[in-house]
Structure formats: structure tokens, C-alpha cells
Symmetry: C3
């Protein structure tokens, strides 16, 4: 195979390359012969061989994807040979079931794992198979990653949205409407195709369906809430999350997981414009021109040696190692929360990170008394009614006017809900250390300080729109009944208020954090935020003019 | 040419590759020597050789592009040698004019074809040349493709827009305004640079212009409505469409035609966010990271073997073949309509696909009597006036309140205007078959059912905004005169109504169909749709408050 | 190094390529060994060697980026060996300081240049180092480029925004708000993170900070307004601009500078949608599919030979050479203004290009008397108050109703502020010449004429929204006090007026110029522009209804 003849043949073929864009003839370049590729595999279990014998032609796309995966080529025992920093299996080898250690990770190894724990296990040509592989299955080899993940706010994304009455009200108000006396919007399916596509659904097994697939009778599982690959998916086995949200089946590709496109599926304009901001930053600029030359695969990722422009994963998740000294710049984590010191998005007011990923367990005072009094002096009496209403996170309707502080979040046991200042400083320092692979520390810290100021300024802007909302409730332009949280969000001016923090303040904070300049300006930045304020004022003015005329 | 020495030289040059991003010296990589490339061509007609002798220096960009095309390298006779599934010429070889069979397809072969049929034929240095090559010219070799295309709603895109009085009214209302008593917006040029850029213009030959180009006196054709490459362009020879919309001149590259960027030029946010939705789906995520490794050229396109993440073309146009069994999964079509069972976009209410691509020939009842009566009970008397108004497609102002059905579309001969339920089921099954190259059928069908629910929910939302529009007309906030269709669309609240279906309902349907989650949520999804409803309600409320005060 | 064995080894390694997407094992592909790469460098100055000895491990990202640069590999003397068209150094070799001619351009060569001229020079381990390298430093080798740039409106971008009271008012109105009697928005930091991120900040040295970096005590400069890489940055040494805006540190890569992503950081939706329009044009379509095959590096850039689809740089900056004849199609320029004949964006009314890049020095009549009279006849008396108010560029509130002309811009010495018709024609001809590398001249000129019509139509639309704004001021819906320019922009209807020209008219002009069809239609095109007009009308109507009721 490796003789001089081959070198010549290959070299001849490659001759076309510098002239590559002149040639239309290399039609078979990049085509993979699946049968040959499968035939070359080593250490495939007999069960997986059986799976492959049909699925190579029944679902060739899946098999082809899996062939690209490391799973198809490396056994857990081999994976354990790697030096610690390059190892991608975290469960101690002797705790991985013996029958899995020396076979590559194929169809049966995952879909046949612990059949009794999966309510969706069916008989599939004599095998006990469950279609949905869950984090509990992945943890057999990737224990540390699953443990980290399960503590993150991502794992709890369904609960944090749907078990917080305030957020649930926002979801309901945003997906339902009445027409001719009936309610539409489809609580389940409309929410499933929108909010829950990212946050995750509750997947229920509702039965099986017998069908003919490729000419063969087959029984398939019928679910409610699936297909869904939301980060906080509540699986049939009770586990939380879908590893496939970022490691899509069946290549489970670290290159994809580290790509900005993955994060950008959920963290995007208008409510979480992280991807969009990065895309328009200098980091994005350089990425788009040169990322094909990066090494996106090295488990221990080395700034400068493997890549220059960072992606989301670089700063928020990946194991980073100095390419010259070998020093670990940042440990790998699958709990993204732990690299963040402030919570920038999805909140009325930005504040320090919660101590737990289970945000829905936090509660908070609605409005400090001193603020309610200050507002009351302006005749905004409804504000007074909000004092002392203990609300589930993260609704803080206004800061303490005396101290400027926004949140008094507590956990059910009364302990503080947010991380300490010391912990904040530590996480911030970790981020500066990452920046410092390419920038001096003062360069990085100046941007952090800019972020501090913009958090404060946008929080004040939210207070401003909240004052205007109180006026709308006060004047009868809109209505609220705190016993029915949906009434916070179901009218036009209330939605303008929502946008002031959910879209514009968020966008300014992201744009500042990552230097995506139009997201702080015209896209959904200061221009749109100040316009939003003026929009609310104009509606109030028109309403009051009509009411004054009526008197 | 193919000796060991060459192999060595080449290998040495390639040494730079793994270190590629360290080197700034390979400045000539990727540079093409046009003269050498032209000199190497075989089977070029004498006429085309003459063309090339000037155009290589006069318009090197065109010549370079053409050199990349298959046209420049393969004669029709050679193309016919290919096995059926890999063949890209569809006209039987003996029906292709003899003089074209054994020359590559160069400048003269297309621009000199059938000069008498082209009103824009001019004398160009002794040749009869027409600048605009039309589908009728392409059909000389690609008969099947042109026949399919000519039946599609794409071919009729100009007519479907401009010969439907309702749509034409929307175009007019969206591009014109009055100021100081004069009308502006420029009916022709403003529409030509906006709507008709995608739908196609009517191209008229208005004369010739004599000019000096690269020092040489030359006569050029002067057109009205050209340059334009809209899919429904009405060509000087009366044919419809521009093959170059998707196969851009002069490479006619199947890779470009299959790329999502091509479709994304017209099928994009906010009215047809197909590209945007796909881009943010998992399919898009994978594509952006890995498509450079795909084989985008194979005429018989094999899921898994040639690509993993599908583009628009994969599901809607391309010939798909199982890479293992060779089974045809889907036949190639240039009539995209035939793979669709519902019409999701550009409509007030989504409904089954029309039986014809000539949508402008369909007509429909404006509003069923039962609905008008139900609305009248709410005091919405103007609704009654709409009963029985036969409107050109696709304006159905409301569903039959008794049956929930939306359309009674008919063709001029009274036959049904929409495809049957059987045909719908057949096309849906074809799509599920395509999905099934990578997903199980229940997985695919669950998403189809989600789409069903979201079509229903969004149709109901449109009924809701239509009720609000009727109230606006009823209360005098807006005005309508059905004899002047432009009055349906020319006021602010009417435009909010338009957006409820043209932007938001569309976006939810696309987002559901292709799992682009933010397009169903915050981008232009349920949040924006419910906000639009509340916006209309607030305008009505302000208007009524002022009117009440006046009493 | 170059023996047959190596060829074989290499060829064997390359065997993986056609099967590339099946393999997960080439984890080290694309990884660079920084120490080896540095060791191979030639002609590095002793000072730069010292820098590298630490910085290779302290900031490996910077060193890696620099290793990719031409700077690291070529001395100025070597650069001067290149033929004139391929030369990238413009300062005559004998005017480049002797000590710089024969060393590659490393850390010390730039950061140690002219220490006395830089207020931010510090002692850094015995070297006099300034962190911010300015255009004056770059001019040591790139004199012509810096001279051109310094005359451009880019270099003056800070002044053009902040020293024009009208624009400064727009900045203030867009970033500040009052709440409970206090002003927020943070004039400095909010503007620094938004508008000035593109326009550039004023960078001030505020002191130094002693810190521990990578275990070593180090003194860093503390700035106000930095990091910032805006095109009009006012540097500590008084120079204007940041070459790094487009040539990012430390690769200074021409490929990045020529990429559309660079320009797209600032020239983007919604106010300057140049990148967005191009992206959705056929040029963008082709680029996204094929640009990896382009030669983006050749200093003399050859259409057809090096690339097909043009980027921003192709038409607006780069040296273009006919690949066959060697004729110069367009000279390189770093003053983008000089290839433009009309100023399309950032203006109330589009008009011919200013004669100077220092736009803030231009002044203009607010409104011609004839127009004020015409408006007065409609009862718009406030219009009369605007006559004769000399405003800084580019505020022209209305055209001369008799002649249709919009601007009477003058420079402080009374000379015309805009280029002559002859100069306009010359620049337009240059652009048509660029188009003509791939299109015939009539094809290009038809689009130019379309642009002419759309400039006229959008200018008329702005007159329309200005009339509506005058009515709003007249009727008391909004308030203006010309002595306080911020009052032009601080209310909701005023912001709608701003959007009519800053977003929608701009977008239509760009969409027409570069054929990005949705930007002329639904994105921010004619649909949004006519909706904006109707929105203003509806607000006026609601306001007047309430006022009428009050009477």
C-alpha cells in the first residue's frame, strides 16, 4: 500500500490542487465508501456488527456520521492510554463495565445499555434497544462531564423556565392568544416548537408504532416531546439534558461542539445574542477567514499553536494549555456557570451568578420598601403593592433606591442565593487569565470594567422602563394582577418593557463583554433601548391625552 | 509529466501544508493562468475560440468562471456516455443539433443559438449574438429540467405576483407614497430593485448603445429590466425564468446551486426565512463546520457517502441515491412545488399546494358566509360586505367558522385549485423517505405532525388579527375599499396585519418544519406574533379612547 | 530534507485526505510548534529576540499570530526587491531608518519606535516600549498608505461624529436617558462601547499599573478609551486611526483585510448594511461557496485568476490588475472616499461626496426658503423657523422645492464642500471599469442608473417623513428647540424619522448598489420605509384625535 507507485499516483492526483478551482472533474473527491470503511473497523462488538449490517443501508447517514466519530475507532481501554490532559474518557477504566472496555463504542454499546432503566426500551430484532440515549448512558464512560453538567443551569433549563411561575407566565403570554373567545397558541406544541426547543421538553413514552421501514416490518417508539435536543430535556429515565445538543449524533464531534455554530443555535439574537456579538467582533472576523486552518480537535487546546481567534468554547468550557510551558490555563468544565461571575441575560436585572444551577429554587423580594416609597411619592401607588411580594427568581422589579442593590435572592433554606464577592473575583480572574494568552491583563481588565459600567447603566435603564410600566398600570393603559403572573406580560406596553431588559439590556451587556459593536449601538443596543423608553412614553402620552379629553 | 521528480517537487511544495497558517509566502497558490488553461481546452468550436481570443483579456472574470464549468470541458456527446443516474444532459443526443454534439459548450454555443428567436440579437464582430441566454436556449441540452421548471411556481413568479391584483396591491402599497401631493417610490425602478429582483422583471429591448470598451468600439444592447436574474424573469424571447438565478454565470456550478447561499438569496428573513431557519438548525450547525469535506458535485447525491447535513437542494430538488443499495431515494426535480404538500409562505392562510404553478389563475372566496355572520354578531358588519367577493388567490380573509376550512380555491375551468389529500400524503411520504436516510420514520413524522399543529395555530392567529383589522375598518381607524385593493395594505394597522401572516406565521411554520428554534420564538415567532396582536389591540384602544372622549 | 523517503512519508500521510471526514485521528494536524517556528526565523533583531524569549510563553497567541505575518519573515530591504506592483512597502528604502532595513519587523521594531513621541512609552525590562503602535509608526515603512488614509473620512471618523453638533446630539439622544431625575447612559463608557467602538475613542494615558503577570512583576500602561480599534481613534501621539482595525494584530494579514468580515464589523445592518447586502447578493453567494479556493494574498489582485466574486476591498480599495494584459484596472488606495461619487449613508439626504474627509468642517443650510414657503402653505409654520439656520453637515432638513436640490454645503473658506460633477463622473467610470472585468459596461451602468433613481426616490421619502416630523412639532406631539440639537432626536416620532433615512433609505441605496434584494424590500427596504411613514401618520392621527376631543 505504501510504495513509491502509490506516492506517484497520489502526487499525480494532487497535481490538480493548485488548479483546483478550474476543474469540474473530481466528482468523486470526498465521497466515502461506507462498506469499505465499515469493513476496516476493528474491535466492533458482535451486536454492533449486527446493527451495522442493516443500518448501513437503512440509515446510511447515521452510520457515515458514526464512522467519523472517535467512538467508532477507539475502545475505552485505548482511550485510557492517552496522557491525562489528552484523555477524553473520565470514568476510571476499572469502573467501566468489562464488556465495554475493549470494543469500540457502537450502536449497541449505547442503545443497548441498561435496558431496564429506560422506559422506551423495545425489542428490536431480538435486542433490547432504547432509542433515546441519555446522559446517564454517556456517564458510563464520561462520568466527570455528566456530573459537572448535571449541576449546571443548562441541565435545569426546563425547570428554570417552566417551574418558575414568572418565567412560565412569560412563556404563556408569548405563545397564546384568544380569538372569538377561544384560547389558541397550543400550550404544548407551540411551546415545544419554540421555547422548549432550546430549554428541552419533558419526553414521555406514549406507546409504540408498527410500521414498514425500507420494506421491513419494524416497531418504533412513539413519544411526546421528541425529537427534541434541548439542553435541559427531561428524559424518559428521569435524567436531565441531551449531550447531543452540542455533540450531535452520531459523530459526537468535538470540532462541532467547539464551533460557534453549536452555541449559536440557542445563544442568539434577540434575547441572547452571544453568537451574533462574537460573529461581529474581531474574534469572529478572524475566525471566519482562518478557522479552517485551526486544530479544533486537540483535547488539550493550545492558544497560538492550535488556534488564534477563540470560539465560545475556548473561554467558557475548554481545557486550555500553554503551548510552550504546558501550564494549564483553564481546566475543562461542562458546567459553564462556573466560569461566569455575573448573570447577564434572561433577567430583569443582571446580578451575580446564582450559587446553584437550579435557579427556579431561588426567591427574591419584588421591590424594596424604600424604592416603593420613592415611587409612591411620584403617585405610583401600585408600586407599593409590590413590596414584600416574595417572587420566584429572577423577578426583582426594582433596586433598593437607597443602596442601588437589586436582589435579595435566597435559597429555600434561607442561605444566600448568589455567589460571594470572593467567588466572583476568582472567576473573573480565571477569565482574565484566558484573555492573557493573547492580551495583556490590563487590556482584558479594562473591558471587564467597561462591562461593570454597562451592567450598572442597563440596570438603571430597566428601572426607568419599570417606572413607566408602573405608570401604565397606574393610569389604566395596562392591567396587572400579581395573583395571575401572566398579566405581567400580556399587553403591548408590557412587552415593550420586556424588550428593554430581555433584548436591549442583554444585547448591550453582551456587546460590551465581547466587543460586538453594533449590538451595543443600533442593532439592539443603546439606540433601541432609548427608543423603547420613548415608545413607552409616547403610548402613555397618547393614552393620557385621550383620558384628559374625556374629563 | 508524471515522473518521480515531479512527485518529489510536489511533495516538497506540500510540506508547507501542515504549517500552512505560519507561512505568508505562498502568494501564488490558487492563482490560475488563464492563457494556459484556455490553451489546454479540447473540442472548442472555432467561433468560441474567436470569442475567447478577445474576452480572455476583455472580461477575464467571465472566462475564468467558464473555465471552471463542466461546460468548458465536456461535449454533449461525452456527457451522454455517463450512466443514467450520473448524466446531466437530458435531451436525447440525437435531438441535440449535430453541430453542438462534439464541441464543448462555449460562448458561441449559447449566445449564438437560434439568433432569430431573440429580439436582443445583435451583430458582434460578425457574429449574431444575443446577450441574454434563456431557458429555451438551455433546453437544447437540458430539456427535462426546463420542462419541469416551466411548470413550477418559480417560473411563474412574476405573474403570480404582478398579475394577482391583491399581491400587486401589496407591492404597490409597499413601494409607493405620496408627498406634497405627488406619488413617489417609483413604480418601475423601486419595484425592479426590490420585489422583482427575486420574482423577475419583464425584460424589454429598448435599443442599442455604441461605446468604447477596452479601447474597442462595440455595440451593446440596451434593456429595460436587465440586469435581473429573478426566477420568473420574462425574457425577450417570451420564455420564463433565469437558470442563472441558481446556476450563476459562467461556471453554472452545481456546487453553488446546491449551496444554501443560493436559495438564501430569496428565501430569507423576514418573509420567507427558510435559509435563516436552516442556518440555525442542527443541519446548519453541522454544515457550517464541515461542508468543505462534502462532495457537492456528484449528480447522484448519496447521503452519508457524499454529505451528512442536508442543504435546501437535498430535500427539495436533488437526485438522492442510497450509497449502499443504489436505490433512488428521490428523483431530481426542477419543479420544487412537486415535493411540497402545503404552501407555507406568502399567504394569508397556509393551505394545500396549488395544482398549478400558475397561482395567479386561482380564485377564492373572500370569506365564508357562516364566518361573516359570526363576525357580524360581534358588530363587525364590514365582514358581511366581504362575503361572496371572489378574490384572486391567495386572499382568503377568514376560514369557514363552521368547518374551520380556509379555502375554496378553483381554477378558471371550475376544477379544484389545490392538490388532493392523496397527493398531499404522497408528497409527505416522499419527504419522510428523504429524512429516513438519517432518521427513523417516526422521528420524521413527529415533526410533520408538529408542523400540522403549527399550521393550524398560526392560521387561527391570522383569523385573530383579521378580526382586529375588521374592527379597525369598522371603527374608522383604518379605511378599506375593496374596489381599490391597495387600500387593504396602505395603513399602519394594515401593515401590522400583513406582518402577522407574512412574517410571523410564516416564520413559525418554517421554524417548525426545519427546527430553527428562534424563528418560532423570539426572532419572528410566537413572541412577535402575540406582540403584533397586542399592538393592534393597543392602537384600537387608543383610537377608541379618543373617539369616546370626543362624544 | 527533500528525498524520496520524505515524499513517500508525506504521500502516505496525505492518503487520509480523500477519506478525511472519516478520520478522527489526525488530532495534531494544523498544530504549530511555536519554538521551532521561532527558531527558524532569520534576520530577527537582538531586541526582538529578547521580547520573544519571554512572550512566546507569556502571550503565545500574539507570537503565533505574528509568525503568520509577512512582517516576521521579510525585511524591508527584501520587500523592496519585489516588482513595483507586488511591493507592499511604500517608503523609499533609503528613507527607512538604516537599523530597520535588514531585520524582520518584530516586536521591538514597532513598539520601540520613536519612544519620545509616544506618551505611553514605559520602561519594560530595560526597553522603552509603547503598547499602542500608531499610524505614524506604520508610516515608517508604509508611508503612502498612511498618507492616503489620513485624508479619508475614516481617519476623521471620531471628529466627524463628535465634532459635528448634530451628530453628537444623535449620539447623546441615543445613549442617555433620565430616570427619577438623574441622567444615565454614561456619556463616556456607553458611547465608548457603542458608537465609538467603530468611530474610535480619544485614547488618554492615565497612568501605569504594577501587576504580576505570569509570576513576573510588570508595569502596564493604564489608558482611558483603550482597548479600542476604531478607524478614527485619536491616539496618544495625536495621530488618527488604527491600522489594526482592518489589519488585526499581529498577523496584519492582507487576507483578513480583504475579507468581507473585516468591513462587516462596522459596515453592517441596520445603519450601514453594506456587508449584509453583499452577503445576500450573488457575489456573496459565490464567495461563501468558493472563497477558500481564491488567492486572497496577491498584492496585485487579478480578477478571474485570483478570485471571481469580489469582496468590499476589490471594488473599494485594492490594486486590481488584468490577469492577461497586466493592465492596471484600479490603483490601490487607502482613502476609500476617492472611489465613491455619492455619499449614501449616515445622512439625511444622500448627496455627492464631500471634497474632504473632514466632514465636520462642512456646513449647510437647514432648509431652502422656497421649501419653507411651500410647507408654510400647508400650515407647517415651524418650517419657516428653520430657514437660514446654518447647520453643520450633514443636516439638510429638506430640498429646495423648486430645484429639487438638497445641499448647499460649503467649507469654512466658502469653497464648495462637495466634489464636482466631473469628479463624480470620473469616479463612477472607475467603478464601471472594475465591474467590467466580469460584466459588460452597459450591464454595470444600468445598475448605476438604478442607483440614481433610488437615491432620488429615497431622498423624496425623507422629505415626506420630514414633513410629518414638522407636523409633529407643529401639533405638539413632539418638541424641538434648535438651540439644543439633542431635541431633534430624543422623542419617539423623531426616532421614527431618524430610521426613515438612517436605516431604510440607506438600506435601499445599498441594496440597489450591490443587488442585495431583500434589503430593498422587506428587510429594511421599501416595505419598512412605507410602514415607517404610515407609523408616523398613525401617531399623528391618534394625537390629533385626542386633541380634537379635548376641544
Amino acid at each position: 500500500m505504501r510504495g513509491a507507485l502509490l506516492a506517484l499516483l497520489l502526487a499525480t492526483a494532487l497535481l490538480a490542487m493548485p488548479m483546483g478551482h478550474m476543474m469540474a472533474h473530481d466528482e468523486m473527491a470526498n465521497t466515502v465508501n461506507l462498506q469499505e470503511a465499515v469493513a476496516k473497523l476493528k474491535n466492533v462488538s458482535p451486536q454492533t456488527k449486527t446493527c451495522l449490517s442493516c443500518h448501513i443501508s437503512v440509515t446510511p447517514g447515521i452510520v457515515a456520521d458514526w464512522l467519523k466519530s472517535k467512538m467508532a475507532h477507539v475502545t475505552p481501554a485505548e482511550a485510557w492510554q492517552k496522557p491525562a490532559l489528552e484523555r477524553e474518557v473520565s470514568t476510571p477504566l476499572d469502573e467501566i463495565p468489562a464488556n465495554l472496555r475493549n470494543v469500540v463504542v457502537g450502536c449497541y454499546e449505547c442503545h443497548g445499555l441498561n435496558p431496564e432503566k429506560h422506559p422506551d426500551t423495545i425489542d428490536h430484532f431480538g435486542f433490547k434497544i432504547h432509542p433515546i440515549v441519555t446522559p446517564n448512558d454517556c456517564a458510563v464512560c464520561h462520568r466527570t462531564e455528566v456530573e459537572q453538567y448535571s449541576k449546571s443551569s443548562k441541565a435545569w433549563a426546563y425547570y428554570n423556565l417552566m417551574h418558575n411561575p414568572i418565567y412560565r407566565a412569560l412563556v404563556n403570554a408569548s405563545t397564546m392568544f384568544t380569538c372569538m373567545g377561544k384560547t389558541f397558541g397550543g400550550e404544548r406544541t407551540s411551546q415545544e416548537t419554540s421555547c422548549l426547543a432550546c430549554h428541552g421538553t419533558v419526553v414521555k413514552v406514549v406507546g409504540t408504532v408498527d410500521t414498514i421501514s425500507h420494506g421491513i416490518p419494524v416497531t418504533l417508539v412513539k413519544y411526546e416531546g421528541y425529537p427534541n435536543h434541548g439542553v435541559g430535556r427531561v428524559n424518559p429515565d428521569g435524567s436531565l439534558g441531551a449531550c447531543t445538543a452540542c455533540h450531535p449524533r452520531h459523530s459526537f464531534d468535538i470540532e462541532i461542539a467547539r464551533s460557534p455554530y453549536t452555541c449559536g443555535q440557542c445563544h442568539l439574537d434577540p434575547d441572547v445574542p452571544a453568537f451574533n456579538v462574537w460573529k461581529e467582533s474581531k474574534h469572529g472576523n478572524i475566525w471566519f477567514m482562518h478557522h479552517k486552518k485551526y486544530n479544533m480537535k486537540a483535547p488539550a487546546w493550545k492558544p497560538g499553536a492550535d488556534f488564534t481567534a477563540p470560539t465560545c468554547a475556548t473561554c467558557h468550557m475548554s481545557l486550555l494549555v500553554n503551548p510552550v510551558t504546558g501550564e494549564v490555563i483553564a481546566e475543562r468544565t461542562h458546567n459553564v456557570d462556573t466560569r461566569l461571575w455575573v448573570r447577564l441575560f434572561g433577567l430583569i436585572y443582571a446580578h451575580p451568578m446564582p450559587r446553584t444551577g437550579q435557579h427556579f429554587k431561588l426567591s427574591v423580594e419584588a421591590m424594596p420598601e424604600s424604592t416603593a416609597e420613592a415611587l409612591a411619592k411620584q403617585g405610583l401607588t401600585i408600586a407599593k403593592a409590590l413590596v414584600g411580594v416574595k417572587l420566584p427568581m429572577p423577578i426583582s422589579l426594582a433596586p433598593d433606591i437607597k443602596t442601588g442593590k437589586f436582589l435579595y435572592a435566597t435559597l429555600p433554606d434561607g442561605s444566600p442565593g448568589l455567589i460571594s464577592e470572593e467567588e466572583m473575583a476568582k472567576r473573573r480572574e480565571q477569565m482574565v487569565k484566558i484573555c492573557s494568552a493573547c492580551h495583556n491583563t490590563e487590556y482584558a481588565e479594562y473591558r471587564m470594567r467597561l462591562l461593570d459600567t454597562q451592567i450598572e447603566e442597563t440596570n438603571k435603564a430597566t428601572l426607568k422602563t419599570t417606572v413607566l410600566l408602573l405608570k401604565a398600570w397606574q393610569s389604566g393603559l395596562a392591567h396587572v394582577d400579581l395573583a395571575k403572573p401572566v398579566t405581567l406580560f400580556d399587553e403591548y406596553i408590557e412587552k415593550l418593557w420586556v424588550e428593554s431588559w430581555l433584548f436591549y439590556s442583554n444585547s448591550i451587556r453582551y456587546g460590551t463583554a465581547m466587543n460586538g459593536q453594533d449590538w451595543t449601538t443600533f442593532k439592539r443596543g443603546w439606540y433601541q433601548l432609548t427608543k423603547d423608553i420613548e415608545h413607552m412614553k409616547t403610548l402613555l402620552r397618547l393614552w393620557e391625552a385621550a383620558r384628559a379629553a374625556a374629563k
